[in-house]
Symmetry: D2
Subunit: 349 residues, 4 copies
């Protein structure tokens, strides 16, 4: 089989770098054009010194000329910049697979886009979370895929069995502790190492974080048509680690439920998924176990006194939370083995 | 005025060391006996190298002979060990002020003690959280004080204005990200630096953490007699920092409420408190701002879409969360200025 | 005694914030004007949320009008900006004590300044390291003081007894691992938390770091006139912690020397210093023991096989490494007790 | 080709876990027995939760019965325990490849072993650092291999071109900042996260660390027979990161040398090595770039004022510093491609 020729737009950022790290381990691709914006013309070896085999590559500008002629194009661009270049690429060659790591095509509701991101809604593409019921079929052979946000990935997968099985009221609380790479590589004072180390903080409190409507969309989708909307209280925390999200999710029980019943429902829901790992009962997720991997670790229990189901999930925001999902979706789009080039093994300690 | 002579039992641990750090900055005390268990006979300079002025002190055994003859005795012992020595001390001298940094005397309900700690309940002492309504009066002149747990301190103070003012349903969700010093100095593999750095994890999930009944007791107390019990869903997280707790707390609104109304209620509730600092509106707490200090930083908002009030609080688990509170209580017990030897200024960055 | 009125220019940065943290604990000062550059007009509570008692202060512009009328002015400005404002302040009032936390007035050799900093040399002020032989007298009553750099402080104090006593050849190797706050609060991509955590790196390798000539000047000064110049190989490392420097220093032995003899020389050299703590023999310094404090911890041994004396020192780069030294110098300049408002007790763990 | 059947003794520790992580990515092996000591009988999924594909494996005891019948046996045991089991394994089947990740067979000089490790010297096996001149040939087809220590790996590779080319005097200073996983998984108070975070410390100062004679042996070997012994002043530092070593190495120049000449010598020395990456001139190594990978990053310059060559190297202590090297040696021993199952791509940020 001929290797697929793949381009990455936005190769100097964290998402782009992680897509490249994954592609370097993928046996069926050849890495083509790498592009940057202000970094065009610079050596990748300086910008991403961990990607040794690509050290001599020079970044090209992000434009149609550079990106055309590939089988797959990954877009790892700031939100709002994917729409135009995607349009151009597919106008030139409708068969090119465009995989957007940004938020532009994730939301179905234009008003939610406008409220949380501003500007005009670019459209809605197949949503790259194959572990959602029915979603894998949408991605097979797709030429446009919207990679989910990192918080929505772990929040959705941690709550999906409870929501889909009707174990809880559609009224969830998610508090997700995240590493800093989710905030990107743009230098801002509050993201300096001096500020981050030894520090935990909350941000986007009160439902104002942009991933809130995406979590709502995913969970509400599990209720089925006419199932109504899941109320989502989402609070992201920044904690002192470079990667990883730990999502603590809970919701009121609909009816009495034992911890064992909850566990069994989770185990069954994910029985056929290679990347979602329901831990042995009593063992709780930690982010380090999934560092660098495409795995999601999940555990669940019931708090009888509080009348709530409590589930915790861990993901690497850059891997399964972004780049790993992008590769998984590429595999599905191209008809390759879904796990090709991916691993469920984390780098620990 | 003669300086008060103060002893610290358990001087080799994190709580004991932090009590000593505070005492070294207190103008009205003289540091007397320092005791240890397995560390008796060792130099404090080896065990707590940051306490330079006490470097030449040798730890004595924790017994009546060593601890008698002081005006104040701080107990920083493992849970369950405070009862007997406290009894002996006060039998010998009823006027000695005994301040227990452990859990032994915090809970009012013996069955809660037995369920969460095991063994026999030692009793209930005045609870050392002066910021709770009416509590300061209980502590003035007291000779026995139970220092609150670290999670209960920040959870209670972060939710108190909402509960006391009836802004929310008595059904709260608390997810609290903690540094590792709360787990103490006993060496356990999961607390190794290699395991902790780059890692976030949940533990005590489903209401099984020992601080759960203490949070419940505090919040329910705010409902008044016959006010019933507040349902508490509490999940502690371990995140990679040595100190600090960030508590994200939420509850369903009882009636429509604006963020401004919530903020005003919080600002008013703490208007006279020197150590609880409601941040300027829109600014969210971070643990580093309170490192080493007796301050608690709090902020609140309303999530209209989710129908919840969301409040976040930050505390240093060893300072206001343990040793600072102990000093504050000592000041109240001795009739000194409540803030003597304490600071609201954190060590940052 | 009337409290001295003190201003801080550059109050929004790390050095300025740390000077303020120290001033808030000082019993003989009153905090006057606080200034910023691009931050003028902003609330200190937003910029330095840990300085609660100053939360309502607004930053003024850094100019003569704002800074005049104080007894003491601390300059915590970018290198090269102290000269002009210092000149204006002392032209207006020759008795004002100006303490420069920057590098402008540290070097005696104009050509060293030009080589390492560029631009014109502003001059040489009394050097604020009272622990150097003869230096304390220079600082008593001084109206202009140059606060030493953080690396030079710890490197000099760690090697001084060996150099001054002629135990080693004048040919030293210093490798100093530093926390990130030394790099300041200006946002640069390589200082992001995502880059810093889990990472150690070298910079300024090969003698190119700006603190190299200052270390050379200090150590050579210990050789006395005509003593020649100490050759200094200095390599700074960036390691994942917000504060602290650990300097590993070594030099060839001049003549056979036992570890005990080396230790005794160090103990004797610092016998009368309250802030330099030679640890018990066999116990090695760690930065956390001095966090937030004005202490320097030092230890020394002899490596017979390698024929070298090896000494290690720890300092908090922002405290004794900058702001603590500045306060210590102010005390000397004003004739106050040298340790007033300072502590030798670190915040640990 | 039939996959090689591989066993790992000591699978619950950090070295054993990392060997397994590497084996899971290796296309030509099948993972056989996994053994532990006190952990025998426990699930690997509990002990090493990041190794998801092996989660259901139970640890067997470390004995001949369990370990026999494999093509390759990796020993990741405490120092001093490899000798006996290795002897038994090769007595039973002389063709089994035994790869010792411990120190037992690294040193050539029995007296050095006795001085630094105590007890009887077990012997000397081919030393698994193929990048040393002539060493690759020793490893091809070997059935016994001693994996180098982590500090010696990076120190040797960082200095080898300078020593082998006679650029410097045989008198080197190495200061190496290490992450904590090198200290293993046994719980000790000074390795607790609470102690490690925000802290840098020195240990084994004065040439007392056990890796000192191994570094000396390697560097002296580069001088050739009759070349004498390289004097090594080695100081290890513990810094707050889980993985990685950054070694700062210097030595006096033998004769005038430009930075360019030094760089060229390094580039030439490693021109054919796939895992030693001399960075572009002016770019200095950082540990994060090599996290999880088998790469070593190196840079060199000349400090003219100090008369020294200064080189810096970065390695992942668990990967190329232990487990990656073990796999690389296995490949050589079995006649496989040397880089099979290994990567030069780090996990960053």
């Amino acid at each position: 089989m001929t290797r697929k020729r793949v381009a990455v737009a936005g190769a100097s950022g964290y998402a782009g770098g992680e897509v490249l790290r994954h592609l370097l381990a993928h046996p069926e691709v050849e890495i083509g054009a790498l592009t940057g914006a202000s970094n065009a013309g610079e050596l990748l070896g300086t910008l991403q010194p961990h990607l040794v085999p690509l050290a001599d590559r020079v970044l090209d500008p992000t434009d149609l000329e550079t990106l055309s002629g590939h089988d797959v194009v990954f877009l790892a661009l700031p939100h709002g910049q994917s729409g135009e270049i995607a349009r151009q690429l597919q106008a030139e060659d409708p068969s090119v697979v465009v995989i957007d790591c940004g938020a532009d095509f994730r939301l179905q509701d234009p008003s939610a886009w406008e409220k949380f991101y501003g500007g005009e809604h670019a459209g809605t593409w197949p949503y790259g979370l194959p572990e959602l019921p029915g979603q894998r079929a949408q991605l097979a052979g797709a030429t446009r895929i919207a990679v989910p946000g990192c918080y929505p990935t772990v929040s959705t997968l941690t709550l999906a069995p409870a929501i889909a099985n009707g174990l809880v009221e559609p009224d969830v609380v998610v508090v997700a502790a995240s590493g800093t790479s989710g905030a990107g590589k743009a230098a801002k004072p509050h993201l300096l190492g001096s500020e981050i180390m030894g520090n935990a903080s909350a941000y986007g409190v009160g439902g104002t974080h942009r991933h809130t409507p995406e979590i709502t969309q995913n969970l509400s989708g599990l209720l089925g048509e006419d199932g109504g909307t899941v109320a989502v209280s989402f609070t992201p925390l920044l904690v002192p680690m470079p990667r990883g999200i730990l999502a603590t999710c809970s919701a009121p029980l609909k009816a009495p439920l034992t911890a064992q019943e909850a566990y069994d429902a989770y185990a069954k829901f994910y029985a056929d998924e290679q990347f979602v790992h329901v831990l042995p009962q009593g063992q709780w997720p930690q982010t380090k176990s999934v560092t660098g991997s495409n795995a999601v670790h999940v555990q669940v229990t019931v708090d009888e006194a509080a009348g709530r189901l409590v589930a915790v999930g861990a993901v690497d925001n850059l891997a399964k939370g972004t780049a790993g999902a992008a590769i998984q979706c590429m595999n599905l789009a191209l008809g390759l083995d879904e796990g090709l080039g991916l691993t469920s093994v984390g780098v620990a300690p």
